[in-house]
């Protein structure tokens, strides 16, 4: 009832993700970023050879998954498709957005190209609107240096309100810091408080107008501000997805199978 092909897509993927990798996973980390930011290099640098690809059912988008151990925790990393935004104009953007939104990753790392940070910040801001557990990885810092571009990461951290880690993934510079930061965020030693971007007055007033009602309906499941914005935007793909998610949750509650996900797939 109410489950669309799209919604089964992500759940099937999640089930496979949680159980298919053999060893118990302690945290799932999403890796997002614009195309050509060295995202795959970061992914390879973190996971080494422990990788496999998985198909997102119903979409012709292939996601790479990998594992690594850090401080005795087993971390699963999901390499999302490279996108410029999460406004869901393409299958890639939809998959990336759905994973960050419904996949409930323990942290989302956004890899940015430090030689054109401004363009990359769009995606960072959008991810921050969905989840507070966002980490910004400013990659290609060596190339920026060569191009005589300086980035003040401390200030960036301050403005955004999320951890910022500079890396040069090709030379494995900064990857250890990144692992440490992921560890901190994923295991809740430090929950970032991202500064929310304030839109113009009209938009803010409109968000305020429907946010309460959204909140009541969502019961704290998602960021109500973000959902309110998507409703205002009239983005039908996400609206459908949220409804089927809520219905699934309700169904689970009614049947008293709150933890059905794990039970179903790991038996």
């Amino acid at each position: 009832m109410g489950l669309t092909a799209q919604s089964t897509g992500i759940y099937a993927f999640l089930e496979e993700l949680k159980c298919g990798s053999g060893a118990q996973t302690n945290a799932v980390i999403a890796l997002a970023g614009n195309p050509n930011t060295g995202k795959s290099t970061v992914f390879n640098g973190l996971t080494g050879l422990k990788q496999h690809t998985g198909n997102w059912p119903g979409k012709t988008v292939i996601l790479a998954k990998g594992n690594y151990q850090y401080k005795k925790k087993n971390i699963t990393l999901v390499d999302l498709p490279g996108t410029y935004s999460l406004l869901a104009n393409s299958a890639d953007e939809q998959v990336a957005r759905d994973f960050i939104c419904f996949g409930d990753p323990d942290a989302t790392v956004v890899v940015a190209d430090s030689t054109c940070l401004e363009r990359n910040l769009n995606l960072v801001l959008q991810v921050m609107e969905i989840t507070p557990k966002t980490i910004l990885c400013v990659n290609l810092i060596d190339e920026a240096k060569r191009k005589k571009i300086e980035i003040d990461c401390t200030k960036l951290e301050e403005i955004l309100g999320i951890p910022v880690v500079p890396t040069a993934a090709r030379d494995k510079v900064g990857l250890k810091d990144l692992k440490e930061t992921i560890h901190k965020i994923a295991f809740a030693k430090k929950i970032p408080q991202p500064k929310q971007l304030a839109y113009n007055q009209d938009i803010e007033a409109a968000i305020y107008e429907i946010q309460q009602e959204v909140e009541r309906l969502l019961q704290g499941r998602f960021n109500s501000r973000w959902v309110a914005m998507r409703l205002l935007d009239g983005d039908t793909t996400i609206i459908k997805e949220i409804l089927s998610y809520l219905q699934r949750m309700k169904m689970d509650q009614e049947e008293g199978l709150g933890k059905c996900l794990e039970v179903e797939c790991c038996e």
Partner: protein, 462 residues
């Protein structure tokens, strides 16, 4: 429907009301994001690199409201001017060479005592068609493609897409459509395949159905030759500058038709809202001339030429046969043309031209050769080694300045070639859309030519 769904739908309805009041919410959200990104980058990024600054300064001019379009049109005209003037001389030389060889071939056939029909099919049909296609098409292509690739490698084309994005959005289409049109300049079939970059099926269909309004490489020689004929024979004081301006104007007209048809489609058959996308403006780079030449000559020029040759050779032979088998005292070709004469006249063409377009369905490259063969089969044997000779043939066949103009318009707007149609069939998996992709342009071509013709004739201009 359960309670949750009802409540949720109510909320969606409420949001819709608010949205309708606000107007373009998506645009405001995107603007907010961009402003914030710009602000943050301004705070934390320090750049000591001058090149980026220069890029920005150039972009400010190239994509400005004031200079953007004029610069685009000027560059387009310049490219055509270089192509037309530059192609004249090598074209004539190639024609001399190839037609001199034809005389040798004829001599050889006579020496070998071959029957007339064999000489006709192979030399007058196959070889002459081929020689025409090569001498008319090769030089402009060998100039046009490297120039076009140069602009592409330089990083100018994404700026063109950027400039035109607004117009396409207004037409209910996708900004990326411009990029597929750029591919269409090379080959419409390639342009149709390039439409894959558009994710929304609605906008992709619009882009596919209208790609044909960009003159492909097979039609450029026709357009260029007709522009030269029009400006040379019928307007006093021929100069290549006027001809190139005309070709540029034709391309701009094609873009306007694309916009108009896209708009109509998005309001009727393919309703919907255009989606936003991010277009990366890459830094300007001075292209590597060596690789540029190799790539544009090998990958594009020779590729397209080979395709044309493969189609033109048999088509030349078939046309010769049609022109030389007589039923009564007229050839099949003449019968066919005579049958189309009334319709042709109505839209300012003649039976032979309409026939050439129909027989040219396999490839647009062979329209002019078929036309010439059709005219020549009526008797007068001429050696076509220059635009001047071509002009003479045309005038002998009752052309006025209106005829090449309509020929240009019809060539620009008519049905796509068979390859493109097959590609559309493959990409859409739908016979309906394939048929429409042939019918819509043809209808537009007929209407435009008809209106122009009736207007000109009504005003007594010819």
């Amino acid at each position: 429907m359960n309670n949750l769904e009802i409540e949720f739908n109510q909320l969606v309805g409420k949001a819709q009301t608010v949205r309708n009041r606000l107007g373009a919410v998506r645009d405001q959200i995107v603007k907010g994001l961009y402003q914030q990104a710009q602000y943050i980058a301004g705070e934390v990024v320090k750049t000591h690199d001058r090149r980026d600054d220069l890029d920005r300064k150039i972009d400010n001019i190239v994509t400005s409201k004031f200079f953007g379009y004029p610069l685009m049109i000027a560059l387009l005209s310049l490219v055509f001017w270089i192509t037309i003037t530059g192609a004249n001389y090598p074209s004539a030389m190639l024609a001399d060479l190839l037609f001199a060889f034809q005389d040798r071939l004829t001599a050889f056939f006579q020496w070998a005592g071959a029957p007339d029909w064999l000489h006709g099919v192979l030399v007058l049909g196959l070889y002459q068609g081929l020689a025409w296609v090569v001498s008319v098409m090769l030089p402009p292509m060998a100039i046009f493609f490297p120039l076009f690739t140069f602009l592409e490698d330089l990083g100018y084309l994404p700026r063109v897409a950027f400039n035109l994005d607004k117009l396409f959005k207004k037409a209910g289409a996708h900004g990326k459509q411009v990029l597929t049109m750029c591919m269409g300049f090379g080959c419409n079939a390639a342009g149709v395949i390039a439409c894959r970059i558009i994710e929304s099926p609605r906008e992709r269909l619009i882009a596919m159905l209208t790609n044909n309004f960009v003159p492909c490489n097979g039609r450029f020689p026709t357009l260029i030759a007709m522009a030269a004929v029009l400006m040379g024979a019928f307007v006093s004081g021929y100069n290549s500058f006027a001809a190139s301006t005309l070709v540029a104007a034709v391309v701009v007209f094609g873009i306007l038709v694309t916009l108009a048809v896209s708009w109509v489609l998005s309001k009727t058959m393919l309703k919907g809202v255009p989606s936003t996308f991010t277009l990366e403006l890459p830094p300007y780079r001075w292209p590597k001339i060596g690789t540029l030449l190799i790539r544009s000559i090998l990958d594009r020029t020779l590729f397209v030429l080979m395709r044309a040759v493969i189609v033109a050779a048999p088509a030349g032979a078939v046309t010769w046969i049609l022109a030389n088998i007589h039923i009564g005292d007229l050839s099949i070709l003449a019968h066919f043309a005579g049958w189309l004469q009334g319709f042709g006249h109505l839209i300012g063409l003649d039976g032979y031209i309409v026939m050439a377009f129909i027989l040219g369905l396999p490839a647009n490259e062979i329209v002019v050769p078929i036309l010439i063969m059709g005219y020549l089969s009526k008797g007068a044997m001429l050696e076509l080694d220059s635009i001047e000779a071509l002009r003479q043939v045309l005038i002998n066949n009752g052309w006025t300045w209106l005829t090449p103009l309509n020929m240009i318009l019809f060539s620009l707007l008519h049905f796509p070639c068979a390859t493109t149609l097959l590609t559309i069939r493959q990409e859409t998996q739908s016979t309906k859309w394939t048929l429409l992709s042939a019918l819509i342009p043809t209808a537009v071509a007929i209407v435009v030519c008809f209106v122009v013709t009736q207007l000109v004739r009504g005003l007594g201009l010819v």
